[in-house]
Amino acid sequence: MAMIEVVVLLIAPLLAGGLSLIIHRSALLHAINLTSMSLLVASEIMITRTVLTDGPFTTLGQLVYLDALSAFILFIIGAVGLACSLYMRSYMDEQVARGVIAPGRLNMFFFLFHMFLLAMVIATVANSVGVQWVAIEATTLTTTFLIAFWRRRQSLEAGWKYLILCSVGISLALFGVVLTYYSSLHVLGDVSEALNVSQLLPVADRLNPHVLKLAFIFILVGYGTKVGLVPMHSWLPDAYTEAPAPVAAMLAGVLEIVAVYAILRMRMIVDHAVSPAFTGGLLTLLGFASFVTAAFFILIQRNYKRLFAYSSIEHMGIAMIGFGVGGPLGTFGGLLHLLNHAFAKSMAFFAAGNIHRRFHTVEIGQVHGLAIAQPWTAMALMIAGLALSALPPFASFVSEMQIVSALSAEGFPGQRLTNSSGMVTLALSDQFSRLGLTGLFLLCAVLAFSGLLYRITGMVWGTPPEGIVRGETWTLGHLPIIVLAAALVGFSFFLPQSLRQLLEQATQILLLH
């Protein structure tokens, strides 16, 4: 079923990567990239159709498992990937023209980019939890050189930090995978399919809860490092600042979300054996840690790329709270928030790339009058900033509202189970904690909102410094910015039918206990 589409999904980046190694002409490299991305998006749409009508399926001899959740993640990979490819057309050419990147190294960039995409696709469609681990580690390996592509001292340092921290984090996740296998061997026997999601899900309630709890903690810490959850986040601001803009957009828009997906996959299995309050509590805890920390760091940032990096941590924290609190509302909100964040953040990094090319600085204090110097970019930055602060006309307002209402209705997961001493105190403390958590959530949202908008308005208004060229010519790189902006506003009023169905089915999958 849908075998050809899956094969295209895997072959397109592989072939494009291989071709990039032997081709050196810039126009051809871009053409290959755009063709491969379009093929990826097309096959993704076909897969979504199949999933929506026929439900989850395995193909390629049990190697691939696809359901609404993985189709949704593939949709994000495809959409943001295509936007990045369009943006790269003008961005990379200018970098080469200015001599920042030697022309001979352009094909290396594209090779790594395609391998990065391939690894993310494999991580999303893999049936085996083990293969998924291998693919996620492969994303680390392919992106280290992309982050350090400028080869400055700072970028090498950022790349090294990323490589070491993520490799170690991911090793911990491997221990979690080993433990999962340890528990599934007793139920499924010593077969090579004992790590497959399609095999694990039906028997998950018979797996050993102690082992699974330990496994989930390891996997959460491991993949949480890739997501950039506090306290495993210290690599993230450096890497996002030093990476070229399209790479930063891919890291923030897609890679984080693939890592979240890996955590959610594992959670689906663990929740069958252990009470969902266990995994939910851990997710909510890490979510709040990330949200609160990032909200304060947003306030003190003087570098606009770091500002967006901390905003990534913040939004991943919010999504985690949504998944942790759970329920139909929280889960749906969490998934929608992932989508909104992917679109808004890639847009923000496109704008950041444009600003950096014009102003040659990442300091917020040295950028003024963007509205005069680069009107299109200024608009993109404003829209991205407003969407990231979750203001009303944007879809992120809807998803954040859903998450906060789920939080105020459900409270911290598992509280009713742990507090069993007397009904009155239970009801009271429950009320207080719900109120407190909701208050904390809103306070941090306000902090992040004011911090972000204060910095962004400072960059947009005013007069540009001396020596900065005024005016902006239209390039292909502006197309994705406009489409993404339209989507961000549009999704809050009207979710396309198939996307809504996809989100609803993915929510159902995550809630099915």
């Binding site: 291998v134 580690e137 390996l141 280290t144 070491i164 490799s167 340890y182 790590l195």
Partner: protein
């Protein structure tokens, strides 16, 4: 049968204990090239353990994993690391954030922690390799500690590799090896990671060198 399985289990325990012992030696060792040698030794013990488990259980796919470990972790990776060290010309003693006695003491604590955490899940395991899971976990923790305690790029890499060894021991001991496709993928990833890190240390060195030379010409003019 009873006796032979008992001896087998003792032998596996012995090998795992040797792995743990080399961990302590790595923590105590100050010279970088000696650390790499110790890592190679540890990997050799790992090959021995894996081969022993393969022989005693008759699971032939563990032989493949053992062979790959021998090739990658005993031969290739130590050579790559030696080359990197030679090129970097590191003669000084390692910079450590924690001194050796304190480090050893902490590692002792980590081993106890590992046994404590794995206690509830150990009875699930196979009789032959029951204690090895706890030892594997201890090795992972010590590798983790080594990465934190040391500052030089290469010694952090050694810590990472020690962690990987612990994970591999865990996979072999707890589950008689992961599915082959996963195991191959893991080997591939580790190998690439070390190669990338090797290139990286060179680039770091180059970046510093080039910064120096440009500074010198600037002074002349």
């Amino acid at each position: 049968m009873q006796i032979s399985s008992h001896i087998g289990s003792q032998l596996v325990d012995l090998c795992s204990a040797l792995l743990l012992l080399t961990c302590f030696a790595i923590v105590a060792q100050r010279r970088l090239s000696a650390c790499v040698d110790l890592f190679a030794l540890q990997s050799a013990f790992l090959v021995l353990t894996a081969a022993l488990v393969a022989f005693l259980t008759g699971n032939h796919h563990i032989y493949i994993a053992a062979g790959l470990t021998c090739l990658i972790k005993v031969i290739i990776i130590p050579r790559v690391l030696k080359k990197v060290i030679e090129r970097l010309n590191v003669k000084r003693e390692l910079v450590m954030n924690v001194n050796v006695p304190a480090g050893l003491l902490i590692c002792g604590g980590l081993v106890m922690l590992a046994f404590f955490i794995t206690q509830p899940i150990l009875p699930l395991g196979f009789l032959l390799t029951r204690d090895s899971l706890a030892i594997a976990f201890a090795i992972v923790l010590i590798g983790f500690f080594t990465m934190i305690a040391r500052q030089k790029a290469v010694s952090q890499l050694v810590g990472f590799l020690v962690m990987e060894n612990g994970l591999f021991l865990g996979a072999t001991a707890a589950t008689y090896g992961m599915p082959l496709i996963v195991e191959l993928g893991v080997f591939f990833d580790v190998l690439i990671a070390v190669l990338i890190a090797g290139i990286y240390t060179n680039r770091l060195q180059d970046a510093f060198d080039s910064v120096d030379t440009s500074h010198l010409t600037g002074l002349k003019e």
